[in-house]
Structures are given as structure tokens and as C-alpha cells.
């Protein structure tokens, strides 16, 4: 069974966001493997450990994001491909086009993606990629099993779980609820140095990254405006009620 997992490097959501001159500050210590992708890597590893097969990871990003690819290899993925680009403004359309070009001549059973990336939370790349590759597709999986060469995918609903059969080749996007991704151990870190990583460019895939079509543009980053402090009312309950009603009507325009 051959898995491809698409991964992305994102800013650590637990570290406070720092914005300077309209640019997001992205220092090395604050960049991590997207948590949803980590779950996709983990689930692919568990399935191939049980049923045999290989896990290959592929990432679109700048050269300095390589360490994130290495983390997936340290977790246990067999090899990786780095599609190098320095363009910081790629959107889901562009990512999915680059990845579709990469997968065009590849053999695989399943492609796994995180259901979204923690940087933009757009959650589009997986579905756009499935569309372009014309693959059967299940989104937002919370559990995967492998039976009779098919993936049995569990999706979470409000009242229960939906169980879907996904034939090979197919694409599934993973929720981070499905597992607790393993932490690379020292052996894994050591081995990850020796695992093969292909470095290619979008041009190698026939894509001119300079003129790649984006469907959206990032204009800039702004700090969250500080929330105004709430109003505190003291005194006679009847008067307070009257005052609150007046404010809701006249200032908030809600009544």
C-alpha cells in the first residue's frame, strides 16, 4: 500500500503571533508541522505498519521549511519530496495545482492531507487536489481502517459517525481528532538524516511559479484590535434593567 501525505509548515499557533511592518514574523523556532498533517502522517504510518507499504511525504515550501519535512521522516515516513518555492503568497488554488502536477505521473493507493492548515484554516487544498486529479474523496476523517484494498473512513457528525468506503486510488483529508501523532525519538531523528529527499521546483513540474494564477491575494497582516472593556452596572436592579434596555435599543440598536 502506497501512501502520499501532503504536509505544510505553519507558524506555531501556541506561540504568540508577531507582526512587524504588515509582515508575519516567521522565525525558525516558531515554525511547526501543521497539526492536521501530523495526524495524516501518523495514520498513514499506523496503517502501513499494520498492512505493509510505504509512506512518502511531499511538501511545497521554501528551503528553510525542510526541517518540517525531516520531522515527518523522523516520525517514520520512508522518503520525501520537497517542491521548492520562496513565494510566500501561494493560496489553496496554487498549492493544489502544484501538487496535482506532482501527482500526475505518480502511482499510489491513497493521498492523505490534513483537513486544513493551521495558518489560514482555509481547508481547500485537499478537495481542490482531489478535483484536479479526479479522485474519489472523503473529507474530515476521524478514523481510517484498511479492508479489502479499500480505506474505511469514519467521519464525525453531530449525532454519530458516518462510515464511508474509499477505493484506491483515492484522497482523504484528516482531522487531528483521529490520533495523537508520535513524537520523533532519537533513533527516528538519526535515521531521518539518511532518508532520501528529492528536491524539485515547480518548473520541473511544468509550472511557472512566477505567473501561477492565484484566486486570492493576501493584502497584509494586522494585529487583532483590542476589545473594548465591557460596561459595569451597579445600583438598583430596576434602574439597571431600564438602563440596559435603553442602551440595547439606542446604542446597540438591537431592540
Amino acid at each position: 500500500m502506497k501512501f502520499y501525505v501532503c504536509i505544510k509548515q505553519v507558524p506555531d499557533v501556541n506561540a504568540p503571533l508577531q507582526i512587524r511592518d504588515g509582515e508575519l514574523l516567521q522565525d525558525r523556532d516558531r515554525m511547526i508541522l501543521n497539526a492536521y498533517d501530523a495526524s495524516a502522517v501518523e495514520e498513514s504510518l499506523v496503517l502501513t505498519e499494520e498492512h505493509g507499504g510505504k509512506v512518502e511525504v511531499v511538501m511545497v515550501g521554501p528551503d528553510k521549511a525542510r526541517e518540517t519535512l525531516r520531522k515527518a521522516l523522523a516520525m517514520g515516513a520512508d522518503n520525501g519530496t520537497m517542491i521548492l518555492t520562496d513565494r510566500p503568497d501561494l493560496d489553496s488554488t496554487a498549492y493544489s495545482r502544484i501538487l496535482a502536477a506532482f501527482f500526475k505521473d505518480k502511482d499510489y493507493d491513497f493521498i492523505c492531507c490534513g483537513k486544513q492548515a493551521q495558518d489560514t484554516d482555509a481547508g481547500l487544498t485537499g478537495s481542490m487536489l482531489a478535483e484536479q486529479l479526479e479522485l474519489p474523496y472523503v473529507s474530515n476523517a476521524v478514523g481510517l481502517n484498511y479492508e479489502n484494498e479499500k480505506l474505511i473512513v469514519r467521519r464525525q457528525g453531530d449525532a454519530g459517525q458516518e462510515i464511508i468506503e474509499l477505493p484506491s486510488p483515492g484522497l482523504v483529508t484528516c482531522s487531528n481528532d483521529m490520533n495523537e501523532p508520535r513524537i520523533p525519538n532519537l533513533k527516528g531523528i538519526m535515521q531521518s538524516k539518511k532518508k532520501p529527499v528529492d528536491s524539485i521546483t515547480p518548473e520541473d513540474l511544468g509550472i511557472d511559479i512566477g505567473s501561477i494564477e492565484l484566486s486570492t491575494n493576501i493584502l497584509g497582516f494586522e494585529e487583532m484590535p483590542e476589545r473594548e472593556t465591557g460596561k459595569k452596572f451597579e445600583g438598583d436592579p430596576d434602574e439597571i434593567a431600564r438602563e440596559v434596555a435603553r442602551l440595547l435599543d439606542q446604542e446597540a440598536g438591537l431592540v
Binding site: 525558525r28 526541517e67 520531522k71 523522523a74 532519537l186 533513533k187 531523528i189 538519526m190 531521518s192 538524516k193
Partner: protein, 384 residues
């Protein structure tokens, strides 16, 4: 030599250790401290991560990483649980460290490999009721009797004393020769006459195991002599040099914990209408901590780098240990102060940091002993 950026390997190891500690170590640390229980399950998990022999040779199951990586891991563990960091540091650099330094190939295969894999734990037996840093005064004896050494004596304050499986024991073989009459031995706990005592109650480091061990007519096979006869003291000094780097890293971890908890608390705690962390009195404490933590870490990593390059590092290791351990106590003290009444309670982490930190200025040579070592090295440098 001057490069303040971690290598990719070092960064990966630190990040993995940080993730591990956050997931497995941080959650129950307050309860482990109050129950004074040795966390075997956590040590097992650390072993699965490969963290029980980080810098030992891969040929003997070690990680084959450098001493800076080891320091990074110890700092990450100590950030939350100094007791556990002490277990890892003493196991790796004292017990296993002595075998790695002076052991034969056979000894390393038999004893070092199960230590680096974490299958077994090491205890290092130097200190005695009557002798600490003055190792020449130790009273434990090893007497040759036919094809055995007979070991007799009492060791105290042995980390992993009762949970350990393999001990390195320093004993006098030639009582007239002073420090030149000391030899090391590898002793297994389950041998006849090896009697670990009950855990000693301590001020801090509560979930690290410390006991006395009485050796009573213990028969040690000749092949378990560790290093040359009479060279035990020289090896001991080298082992301690390495150990002090670990204590330095552990101290940096405690100080960082004290600082980070204080930073968080002082921004959340409001008094007189603003966060207490915005009063200059508190600000200055935080700034002092942050600055000195960076300085301590640089001293520790410098010593680690020198060790990895096989350059002399006795002075640098002592400087790092002295500065970092004094800082750990100071930072933990300030952290309790910044937390006020809450800091004095066991609901918060900082009172534990203060109790744990105090061992740092004592274990593996007190601050006063570090100053003796540094002064001696300085005199050598100046030709006196």
C-alpha cells in the same frame, strides 16, 4: 567556536523533548512531588524516546548525539520536573558515563548497552557518610582474595540507590596511596551483600530516588574492575567534570521554569489596576532572570562543546555549574516572591523549583568546591 544557532539535529532533539515533556511529564509533576514516587513509567517512556543514553556511542545502544543535545534535553525536562531530569542526568553522565569512559569493550557490551537502552538504571557510588568531595577520604575497601575482589563499605546519597540495577562503586585498593589507591568496580544490585537502604527524605527532588547502600563482603569478579587499578580517582574527576555540565543544564531548566511561570503569573495577576508584572520592581526581577538564564545557558553549552571537541573543560564545566546552580536558587526564590502568597503554596510550581534548585549548589561538588576547582585552574593558567 562562536555559533549561537543550534544545528538542525539539536533543534529537532530539543523540540521532540519539549513536546514529550509537555505531553507526558508536565501534567502530573505536582502530584509526583507530593507522593515522592519514583516514576518508573516515565523513565520507560523516556527510554522509548531514546533519551537514556543520548551521547553514548551508538555501538553500545546510545544515541550518538553530542553533549549540547544532551544539555538541551536535560533543560527541557528540568523546566517541569527537576527530579526526573536528575534521574536522566545522573544515570547518563555518572553511572553510564563512568563505564563509557573507563570500561572495556566487554564491560560496555554487558553493562553500558542495557543502561543506554534504559532497560536498567545506573547508580554511581562515590560519596560516603564521612567523605564527599574529598574523595581521598573514602573508607570503602576492595581487597583481592584469589579470583575476586571483596567489597566492604557504606555509600550515601546515591541517586538511583534503590531503583538502580547497576552501580559503579569507588573503593580503596591501596589505603596508603591516598587518591592513587582508589579503583572503580561495576557491581550488580542483585549480588549477595549489596544492601540499598530506604529512600532518604529530602528538601526537594522528591521523585528522584536517593538512598544509602551498604556493601557487605560483596564478591566482585575480577573482570568487573572498572579502569586500571589505582586510576579510579582520576576517572572520577573526569566523570564529575562531565556530570557538572548536566547539573548546569538542569539548573538552567529550573531557572527557566521559574522565569516562565513568573512571566505568565505576573502578567495575569492584577493589583492596583494593572498586571503586577508591569511594576518596575517586578519587571527588573524578570529582566535579571531572563538575562542570567541566557548567560548560564551559554556557559553550559560552551563547556559541552569543549567536551565534545576533546579539549580541556574542567574550569569551564565548573564555571557553568557554579553560575547556573546559583542562578537556579536565586531565580526560584524570586519566582516565589513574584507569586506572593500563591507562590508559597503547592498549588503552584515555583515552591517546588525553590526546593529542587537547592540541590544544584550542593550535588556533584558544592559551589565552594567549584570555586576551589576554578581557582586551581586559574593558578595553573597563570603559571603558579
Amino acid at each position: 567556536m562562536i555559533n549561537f544557532e543550534l544545528t538542525e539535529d539539536q533543534q529537532m532533539i530539543r523540540d521532540s523533548a519539549r513536546e514529550f515533556v509537555k505531553r507526558h511529564v508536565a501534567p502530573d509533576v505536582i502530584s509526583r512531588d507530593s507522593k515522592k514516587e519514583f516514576p518508573r513509567n516515565l523513565v520507560q517512556k523516556l527510554a522509548e524516546q531514546g533519551l537514556m543514553g543520548i551521547y553514548h556511542e551508538e555501538a553500545y545502544g546510545g544515541g550518538g548525539f553530542d553533549t549540547v543535545s544532551f544539555c538541551l534535553v536535560i533543560e527541557e525536562i528540568a523546566r517541569w520536573d527537576a527530579s526526573l531530569a536528575l534521574t536522566v542526568a545522573s544515570h547518563t553522565s555518572l553511572g553510564a558515563g563512568h563505564i563509557a569512559l573507563a570500561g572495556t569493550h566487554e564491560q560496555k557490551e554487558k553493562y553500558l548497552a542495557p543502561l543506554t537502552s534504559g532497560e536498567k538504571l545506573a547508580g554511581w557510588c562515590l560519596t560516603e557518610p564521612g567523605s564527599g568531595s574529598d574523595a581521598s577520604g573514602l573508607k570503602t575497601t576492595a581487597v583481592r582474595k584469589e579470583d575476586k575482589w571483596i567489597l566492604n563499605g557504606t555509600k550515601i546519597f546515591i541517586t538511583q540507590g534503590s531503583v538502580g540495577d547497576i552501580y559503579v562503586v569507588l573503593a580503596k585498593t591501596d589505603p596508603d596511596k591516598g587518591t592513587k589507591g582508589i579503583t572503580g568496580y561495576i557491581v550488580e544490585k542483585n549480588w549477595k551483600g549489596v544492601n540499598p537502604g530506604e529512600p532518604i527524605h529530602k528538601l526537594g527532588m522528591n521523585s528522584s530516588d536517593t538512598t544509602e547502600i551498604v556493601f557487605e563482603n560483596v564478591e566482585v569478579p575480577l573482570e568487573n574492575q572498572l579502569g586500571e587499578q589505582g586510576k579510579g580517582f582520576i576517572d572520577t574527576m573526569k566523570v564529575l567534570d562531565g556530570g557538572r555540565i548536566g547539573i548546569g543544564a538542569l539548573s538552567v531548566g529550573i531557572a527557566r521554569g521559574a522565569f516562565e511561570e513568573s512571566m505568565k503569573y505576573s502578567q495575569e495577576r492584577q493589583q492596583f489596576g494593572r498586571p503586577v508584572g508591569n511594576f518596575q520592581a517586578v519587571e527588573h526581577k524578570l529582566v535579571q532572570m531572563a538575562t542570567e538564564i541566557d548567560a548560564a545557558r551559554i556557559l553550559v553549552h560552551r563547556a559541552a562543546l569543549l567536551k565534545d571537541r576533546n579539549s580541556p573543560y574542567t574550569k569551564e564545566a565548573s564555571m557553568a555549574k557554579l553560575f547556573a546552580s546559583e542562578l537556579a536558587v536565586k531565580a526560584a526564590d524570586e519566582a516565589v516572591q513574584i507569586h506572593g502568597g500563591y507562590g508559597y503554596t503547592k498549588e503552584y510550581h515555583v515552591e517546588r523549583f525553590l526546593r529542587d534548585a537547592k540541590l544544584m549548589t550542593i550535588g556533584e561538588g558544592t559551589s565552594e568546591i567549584q570555586k576551589m576547582i576554578i581557582a586551581r585552574e586559574l593558578r595553573k593558567e597563570f603559571g603558579y
